[in-house]
């Protein structure tokens, strides 16, 4: 039982769960994108980092780091592209579409 792996993965799971709560509760697409991209980057960093630590210094370590680099390339690019498309389609931040009450 490697305690560093467990600590990193539990920390990453905390960020993933917080991101899902934000995705569920926030009012419009801009704030949802904020919740998604930030917590996904940090949660992916901690969970994949914990798995890389679990596998030790081998080829799998560098392959998991490559996947982590791809996640860090993918996540901000897709969030930025989605928000740019939403802005050009006429949505504006500040007035949410859904009313919780």
């Amino acid at each position: 039982m490697n305690w560093l792996t467990v600590a990193l993965i539990v920390l990453g799971l905390f960020f993933l769960v917080v991101g899902s709560i934000g995705m569920l509760r926030l009012p419009d697409v801009f704030t949802r994108s904020h919740a998604l991209s930030l917590t996904d980057s940090l949660g992916g960093l901690f969970v994949l980092g914990g798995l890389a630590v679990h596998h030790g210094f081998s080829a799998s370590f560098f392959k998991i780091l490559l996947v982590l680099g791809l996640v860090y390339l993918l996540n901000p690019v897709v969030a930025h592209a989605t928000i740019r498309a939403a802005y050009r389609a006429g949505l504006r931040p500040g007035k949410g579409e859904q009313d919780d009450l």
Binding site: L24, H55, I64
Partner: protein, 94 residues
């Protein structure tokens, strides 16, 4: 250690169900694109976890890399298409 990874996989699957709710019930189409992006990021992490559980991580990491590249290209294509479709595409038609 194996049971710990199993419970981590269960929690990540529950998180993916929340994103699936957002994909199904998103008011605009951009919420659905965001939810799909979140689901595929969790799927990348989940594939690496499955490889760790099966002791074959050197094979499953390659699948995960391919999935990440496919998700990047697909999401960029969808957002480019929605961006070029013009002004009236923001609201949901039901």
């Amino acid at each position: 250690m194996s049971t710990f990874f199993f419970y981590v996989m269960v929690i990540i699957t529950a998180v993916m169900l929340v994103y699936l709710y957002r994909v199904v019930r998103g008011p605009t189409v951009f919420d659905r694109v965001l939810g799909l992006n979140g689901i595929s990021t969790k799927a990348i992490i989940l594939i690496v976890l499955i490889g760790t559980l099966f002791e074959r991580v050197d094979m499953f990491v390659d699948i995960s890399t391919g999935y990440a590249i496919l998700n990047l290209v697909g999401a960029l294509a969808i957002t480019k298409f929605l961006e070029q479709r013009g002004e009236t595409s923001g609201e949901e038609r039901s």
